[in-house]
Subunit: 144 residues, 2 copies
């Protein structure tokens, strides 16, 4: 497990789609059609992304949503934070005092390390990166 929610996943698909033509305005309806998801769901997500400052919106005819920031500046970490809150693998991995077990728990700091690794990995991927085909030869390595 260790999942992002379906809605977050949809969110990245929506944003990646928009990132192909970053200066266009997309209506909820047209995105829903392109991605084949219910318009209500797409619409809900676009509202959230708009409130969080990732998208600008415009009502009325010719209205729709549009990326505010260039695709290379929007990371997966940002998208996840916007749609489901700060990345925190365990309750105690984000900050102290959230975990009842803390006093008996020698492992908080290790969870924080894991969390940092995950965060960095997510921060490293931008919407632009999402559109690239990954090179087969590419190295993937973690150092802790």
């Amino acid at each position: 497990m260790l999942r992002v929610s379906k809605l977050t996943d949809y969110g990245t698909v929506i944003l990646a789609h928009m990132a192909r033509e970053p200066d266009r305005t997309y209506s909820a309806a047209s995105l829903a059609q392109s991605i084949e998801l219910p318009i209500s769901t797409v619409s809900k997500l676009l509202k959230l992304l708009s409130r969080s400052g990732l998208l600008s919106s415009c009502r009325g005819k010719q209205g729709g949503y549009r990326l505010i920031t260039p695709p290379q500046e929007i990371s997966l970490a940002k998208v996840i934070e916007v749609l489901e809150g700060p990345v925190a693998v365990t309750e105690c991995s984000r900050r102290r005092g959230l975990c009842q077990l803390e006093s008996h728990c020698a492992i908080r700091q290790q969870w924080q390390g894991i969390n940092a690794v995950i965060y960095q990995a997510l921060e490293h991927i931008s919407l632009e990166t999402l559109l690239e085909k990954p090179r087969a030869s590419e190295k993937r390595r973690v150092q802790i």
Copy 2:
């Protein structure tokens, strides 16, 4: 977000506790007392860990649970897999065909990359590591 479940978190605390004296046998009751969690919850987890082959069990007086494998050979990745199934950040990140959006989704491979990074980070931490105090100077770096 991007969490492991509370139960998985408890599980790691239990196992880390057992790893301090890896050759001892621990009863569910004594573990529950040490960790200050309800015995029913601890018991449930121990059963799961036992069925999955991480612990051996023995009934009756002097019975209890015990680590089968040395603490340095049990990774967080393993514990998470045992308690909540394979690590998969998105439905499509583990294997093909689980995601309805696949044909419209250019980003599956990138999710798989993220997943690999997370997996490696989790695989790199063992029960033994969990007990160490992390060195302040330690580098944490991710390369994708």
